[in-house]
């Protein structure tokens, strides 16, 4: 359950490199037990922010406190209560699956017996028991992602940082990760995750922060954001040069967008507003769907491609 207690607080948080500002003076708070999603295009500053939270990078300016500790002075205490599942594969290829977990536990000062017990539990949950003694090289991408997630839990963290936890996973493995996130939320673990999958953010996150060019450009619950920026329903149909005029007439308050050879009509009118129009015009290849986070994201961050 989400409480009023602020577990992670940032103000004016900035990370500058020689000629580039990755994070540009952001303020945010994450409450205990909350699951917060950082969404943003590549290079928006999500990973940099996550890395500052677990003291991997020092902020250039600003304040950042995690679990009551300052990242400038109390890194060791922060890292003891934070679990990190980074984006890239940094599993130890010199060890087996099990030994990856027990060696990692040792860095936290966890005793050998306890480490083994926790490692076996994690392998069971993440369905990696059969791979217990396998070398890392032999694992599939999905298995590696799951093992990285399992490793992040070995110190039973209060705060869990998941940087794109499901990138490259098949739907089965993705759901396994989602289940684990929900389970951990129930246990009171505070979670920050970054993702490029909007459905994932919508399903898992209590609150979403949209980041672009190193700034937080919007935040709120998925529902609030969708209602505020896109409305309720979306009509999608094939582009035809006569259509925009007809649509403008029929839906005066709606926002109409052309996306290649498709048109999208966004409305905040109640359900059923598109039906009459469709009956009148007999159009092909039409879809009415609920507005979603992807619509919000594209509206706020634009459609231009971003380089890494």
């Amino acid at each position: 359950m989400v409480s009023n207690e602020v577990l992670i607080g940032a103000s004016g948080l900035t990370k500058k490199y020689d000629n580039y500002t990755a994070v540009n003076g952001i303020d945010f708070e994450v409450y205990k037990g909350e699951c917060v999603g950082f969404l943003g295009p590549n290079g928006a500053g999500k990973t940099t922010t996550i890395r500052m939270i677990y003291c991997f990078l020092l902020p250039s300016a600003g304040k950042l406190e995690v679990a009551g500790f300052d990242v400038h002075t109390e890194c060791r205490k922060i890292k003891a209560v934070v679990g990190v599942a980074p984006q890239e594969d940094n599993l130890d290829p010199d060890f087996s699956v099990l030994k990856n977990l027990t060696t990692y536990a040792r860095y936290f000062g966890i005793s050998k017996d306890e480490a083994l017990k926790r490692a076996e539990e994690q392998l069971k949950f993440f369905q990696l028991e059969e791979k217990r003694d396998a070398p890392i090289m032999s694992l599939s991408t999905g298995m590696k992602r799951r093992l990285i997630f399992a490793r992040a839990l070995i110190n039973q963290p209060q705060v869990l940082l998941l940087d794109e936890p499901t990138t490259g996973l098949d739907p089965q493995a993705r759901h396994l990760v989602w289940d684990e996130v929900r389970y951990l939320k129930k246990q009171g673990v505070t979670i920050i995750l970054t993702t490029h999958y909007m459905d994932e953010a919508e399903v898992l996150c209590d609150r979403i922060l949209i980041v672009d060019h190193g700034r937080i450009i919007e935040q709120g619950t998925p529902k609030q954001l969708i209602e505020k920026h896109v409305g309720k329903e979306v009509l999608e149909l094939d582009y035809d040069e006569k259509l925009p005029v007809l649509l403008k007439e029929a839906f005066q308050s709606a926002r109409i967008e052309r996306l290649g050879d498709r048109l999208q009509v966004f409305t905040d009118q109640p359900h059923g507003v598109f039906e009459a129009f469709l009956q009148k015009h007999k159009l092909q290849n039409v879809m009415i769907r609920n507005a979603n986070m992807e619509d919000v994201f594209l509206k706020l961050t634009g459609r231009g491609l971003r380089e890494e």
Binding site: F56, P59, N90, F95, G109
Partner: protein, 283 residues
């Protein structure tokens, strides 16, 4: 305390703050070493045996004597010194670079309560350990080879100090190596220190021929600045109880100079290696 939290880039020189966690990093490397004993360790054993056979017994048969001792007795302590240098230098260049750059092992460890400084210090202690293991093995090899020589290759009871010497000398070479690793843009970069620093020392530090046969300025240079010269002196002192009379100095003066040189250089490069790596890994 409300001053703006503007951070400068990490200072280029500060005393590393280290804790017992250094040994956790060491332990990781030790575990890997045990797992890969067969492929990584036993083949390297062959090297000192080959050197001893080829130079000591083969070439040595044509060389009457050096400093009044058979040639094989002259090179035996040098083989121990070389194994210290190679063991630690290659561990903390190629092997550390692979762990840092390709395997991202350091990144994974610093997400735990272990700090960057401790990761690097653990690597250095591991490099020193590799040097100790290698030197001890070579010492055993030359002791065994004494069965076939006129004069025993190990003739001073101080040989018992060799593992200790190897650890500290290994720490020095590890630390020098780590400074190169901190600067390495890619793994090929290590060709420079390997061929321009390690290989010349292999031959020019009183190893396969006496330092005294070099021109005086070169002798002075090798004695004043090259780390392997000091290690050869100290190891030779421990194994045969004597050193070459470089520049006409007494045994005591040479040993004292080499020991002090090694201690100061080890402290300097240990701190510098950690600082340079910290800078590379945190900015």
């Amino acid at each position: 305390m409300n001053e703006p939290n503007l951070r400068k880039s990490p200072a280029s020189f500060s005393w590393p703050k280290l804790s017992y966690r250094v040994w956790m990093v060491w332990h990781r490397n030790f575990d890997v070493f045990l797992n890969t004993l067969k492929v990584n360790f036993f083949p390297s054993l062959l090297e000192p045996i080959l050197y001893l056979a080829a130079f000591g017994f083969g070439l040595g048969g044509f060389i009457p004597s050096i400093e009044g001792q058979p040639y094989v007795n002259f090179i035996a302590p040098a083989l121990v010194a070389i194994s210290i240098m190679n063991g630690s230098f290659f561990e903390c260049t190629y092997a550390s670079f692979v762990r840092m750059y390709f395997q991202k092992t350091f990144d994974a460890i610093v997400a735990t309560p272990v700090s960057v400084e401790e990761v690097v210090a653990g690597e250095l202690l591991w490099g020193a350990t590799r040097a100790t293991i290698n030197a001890t093995i070579v010492l055993a090899v030359i002791s065994a080879a004494s069965l076939f020589t006129a004069v025993p290759l190990v003739s001073s009871p101080l040989f018992i100090l060799v593992p200790l010497i190897a650890f500290f000398a290994g720490l020095l070479f590890s630390s020098i190596a780590m400074c190169f690793t901190a600067a390495a843009p890619n793994v090929d970069f290590f060709n420079y220190p390997a061929f321009l620093f390690v290989t010349p020392m292999l031959f020019l530090c009183g190893t396969f021929f006496p330092l005294t046969s070099l021109p005086i300025p070169a002798q002075g240079l090798a004695f004043a600045v090259l780390p392997l010269t000091q290690v050869v002196n100290v190891v030779r002192g421990a194994i045969v109880g004597a050193v070459e009379p470089i520049l006409g100095l007494s045994v005591e003066a040479i040993l004292a100079y080499s020991v002090v040189w090694l201690v100061l250089a080890t402290v300097l490069f240990f701190v510098m290696g950690i600082n340079l790596m910290k800078k590379r890994l945190t900015s």
